[in-house]
Structure formats: structure tokens, C-alpha cells
Symmetry: C2
Subunit: 221 residues, 2 copies
Amino acid sequence: MTETPPAPLSATPRSTITRKKDRGRTERAALYSLLDEGLVCHLGLLLDGSPVVLPTGYGREGDTLYLHGSTGSPSMRAGDGSTDVCVTVTLLDAIVYARSVNDHSMNYRSAVIHGRPRPVLDPDRKLHGLRVVTDHLAPGSWEHARPVSAKEFAAVTVLELALAEASVKVRDGGPSDTEADVRDGGAWAGVLPLRTSFGPPEPAADLRPGIPVPEHVAGRG
Amino acid sequence: MTETPPAPLSATPRSTITRKKDRGRTERAALYSLLDEGLVCHLGLLLDGSPVVLPTGYGREGDTLYLHGSTGSPSMRAGDGSTDVCVTVTLLDAIVYARSVNDHSMNYRSAVIHGRPRPVLDPDRKLHGLRVVTDHLAPGSWEHARPVSAKEFAAVTVLELALAEASVKVRDGGPSDTEADVRDGGAWAGVLPLRTSFGPPEPAADLRPGIPVPEHVAGRG
């Protein structure tokens, strides 16, 4: 059985990288892995004519990004159909030290997604969207924790955004000094990697005695 | 000698927190420390009528945020004076596991700043802004690395944004389950801390032999 590889990211005017084009990635797999590794997106929307950028939880399944929040929260007004939004996920990988101040940089991976999110209204699909978001934030918790009640379900909004118009940008590797700086520069050059890791789980102060840390928490990372 | 404490953050309609108001912070020191700890901001601006959110380097000095980028880059069009921007910095501190799926959350600190950035045109002030941004990204590099040349200086844009209209939101502590869930829930609850750290410095492949890792790199963190 052969699987059809997903279509590459195709650039629209809005998703065309105009600076440092060599950092662009067109493989859809690069978009997927970056979104799956990130924990929070930055959702940009227009509120009363001004851009607002809010950190927001999300989850991805296939070519759909799910966002969720409280019904009535500013970020969920992104789903009223009146405006496009921009969702950006950035992962920082290293500080890049160059021989020259000017060539200092960061290694990073970022995805910028444009589109018009729609609220997921069908109850089964909405519940599924909530699950995707939960599985992203806390894999294993959907099975382990108390399910969402009808009242809680009504108080949450789930938006879906198609991964149709997106760009991915990656900077990696060492510093990119000029040849003259490499030859003549006396400064140290290289990268200082940035690492994100999980510390030891900290049980809630009021946790009932005898409940061990489950594997989906203890084994994370 | 007594210093006048900085004025607290005062809410405008745009910077008034409408959801989870208990997470709001009004001390200006909370804004400062969060901005000083973050490495990248998410800059939201309007381009051709759509919101765009771009990861951007920055630095803070007093009540001024400096942003920088290549002249002509989309993010630097934020400084053309035509539109307000939104700058958001988010630090993730932990995944919060609750007894219920619905009360799962993240511990985070976020700052949302609104305003109209202005390009810094005066050469001395522009150079100073560049230094503030460099000191933020790579403290010590301004003294250690080759200074910015006149040509490089001309090719970069520095914007300044007043920290006048800003809000800070913090979620910390353990899960906030309902009393019934705490009493009856059999699920594990607590937090899984997220840590960001620096790995060992990696010298550039073409680094001249005999240049040791300087203390401002080796001792960072």
C-alpha cells in the first residue's frame, strides 16, 4: 500500500516569504512537526480595528488546526467569520554568536498560518476537536481525567482553521559571518543551544493520597 | 536616596483583561521581568488588511521596547506610522493536569503591549537601540564582537514602542478543579514544570583555533 505524500506548501502572496528566502521550507511535514512540537500558538486577530496577539492553546490533526477557548473570550471572536486571522508558532533552538554584532541571530523554526477560522458546531466534531487540543496539551489526559460535562462543553468554543495558506521558516546551523570576518575576526563564534524540558511532576497539594503519577505524565518528554 | 517606584500599569479599553481577571497583574515590575526573561516577541501588525504575526527580536530599556529588523522587512513596516501594532511575549512555565479534562491548563506569564512604533532615526539613539536589542539577545557580545559597520547600520531598522498600554497575565500554582472533583476525582492532578535552559556552547566549524568560549557565553543561564 502506498500513501500519497501530502501536497507541498504552496505560496499565496500573503504566505510568500520575502526576506531570507533560503530559510523557507515547502515540505508539509516541516509544518506538521513544528506544530506538533509547539505548545502554544500566537493568534493574531483584529479587534476594533487594531491587531491583537494572544497566546492560545491548539492541536493539529491532518490539515486542520483546532483552537479552543472560553465562549466569549476575545480570542474566540476570531471565529465570528468577520476577519482572517494569523496563527504563528515559533520554536527557539539556539542563540547564534557571530564574529560581528550584525550577524548575531537565533536558530528557530516558525510557522505562519493565514485563514478564516470557523466554529465547530456539530457536537461530535466539536468534542473531537476538544480531544485533539487536549491530546496536544496533555497526551493521555483524555482517557485518564474526568470527561467534559455538558455544561463545560457548552461553555467552550472550538475553532477550526485549515492549514491551506501557511509558510514555514527555519534558521539552523552556525553563524553566517562574511569571509573577511571569518578570516580576521578574533571573536568567538558558534551557537548556544536552547533546550526545553520537563521537570519532575509536582502533585497538587490536595491530591488524594495513594494516586501515583501516571505514566503519561511521568514519562513525558 | 529613594527611587520613585514606576507607575502601575493602567488599563485602557484595549488593555483591559476581560477573561480570568484574577490573572491580571498591574505591577510594572511584572512587565519588566517578563520582557527581560523572554527572548522573542510576537509582533502583530496589519498588512494589506490582514493581521500578520511575526516572531521578532527585541530589547527593553526603561519604558521603551526596541524592535529591530532588516530595512524593508514586513515586520519593520510596522514602523511606517500607519497602524498600531500588538507585541506579545509569552513564557510557558508548566502543564497543569487537573482531575477533569476541562480544568487542564498551562502556567504561563504573558505581556500584551499595544501602541504605534516609531523608527529611531537619530543615529546615536538608533545605535543605542541596537545595543539594547543586542544586549538582550546576547549579553556581552556588543563589547566582544566586531562593531556594526556603517553599511550594516544603514540596512537595519530600529523601532521604538512605548510601554504605555500593556497588560500582564499570569497563571501559576496548581490545578483549579471544582470541590466535587477534588473530593471524588481519582485522576492524578498537579503540574509538570517546563524548563528552558542553555546547552553547552558549540563553536563554529570554521572558528580560528585558540579562541576560547568567552565567559559571557559559557556562563550564561
